[in-house]
Symmetry: C2
Subunit: 134 residues, 2 copies
């Protein structure tokens, strides 16, 4: 696992929605915008499942995820890859439900995806795009 | 193949950058923002490769792509899936180079990915998220 830098953590906190990509066991990529993506420690991201169908099915058969952080308030673009553990019960799941429902009372908050950060790449345009940062 | 609706075509034209997802043969998803994503007919999207590394490697071993269209000027979110053919020569490739370099003279424009649209899903939040539209 790797730990995000302070600059990356600041950028991540400015994002309103994140492009979250997964892949099915037979190789079909899937990308959707997800609102609840939060860093819980330097190496771990929580993603809440409110309305997921294909993302959830993909994670069950292939627990790998890619997300990028890039927007009007970030300096450049970086992409995170990591493995995901799905939780639908227990203290972390309950904490996620509490946090999500504090923002949106009727949110299903039906699952918690715990992503351990394995690799970070730059996705800013230019010849260095795609190079590994961490 | 399926043809985008007029509303989808209008939404697509408002986008400045698109989250483009692919997957490696061993199932690692990859998502990056790509600026040049253009509809060339109702069923076909051109994606220009300026600085791609992992996206290009993934398409060479697994020619499948997922992209979503969602932003401040779109009404809701929709996601496109399709198979991709890579072109690095020929009249379509030359046309892509001309179009890209008209906007950015020094652009590498080193490849053209021609995506045939196979499926379209909604990615607006709510219980219908993930349902197939086309």
């Amino acid at each position: 696992m790797v730990a995000l830098t302070e600059e990356m953590k600041t950028a991540l906190a400015t994002m309103k929605a994140f492009p979250v990509a997964t892949a099915s066991a037979d190789g079909w990529p899937n990308v959707v915008p997800i609102g609840f993506v939060e860093l819980v420690d330097d190496e771990t991201i929580w993603i809440a499942d409110n309305f997921m169908k294909k993302t959830l099915a993909n994670i069950r058969e292939n627990p790998k995820m890619s997300v990028y952080v890039w927007g009007p308030e970030t300096k450049g673009c970086f992409q995170i890859k990591g493995e995901v553990e799905l939780k639908t019960e227990g203290p972390e799941f309950a904490k996620m439900q509490e946090t999500v429902r504090a923002k949106m009372a009727q949110a299903p908050a039906k699952g918690l995806m715990v992503m351990k950060i394995h690799e970070v790449y730059t996705c800013s345009p230019g010849p260095d795009a795609g190079d590994r940062l961490l």
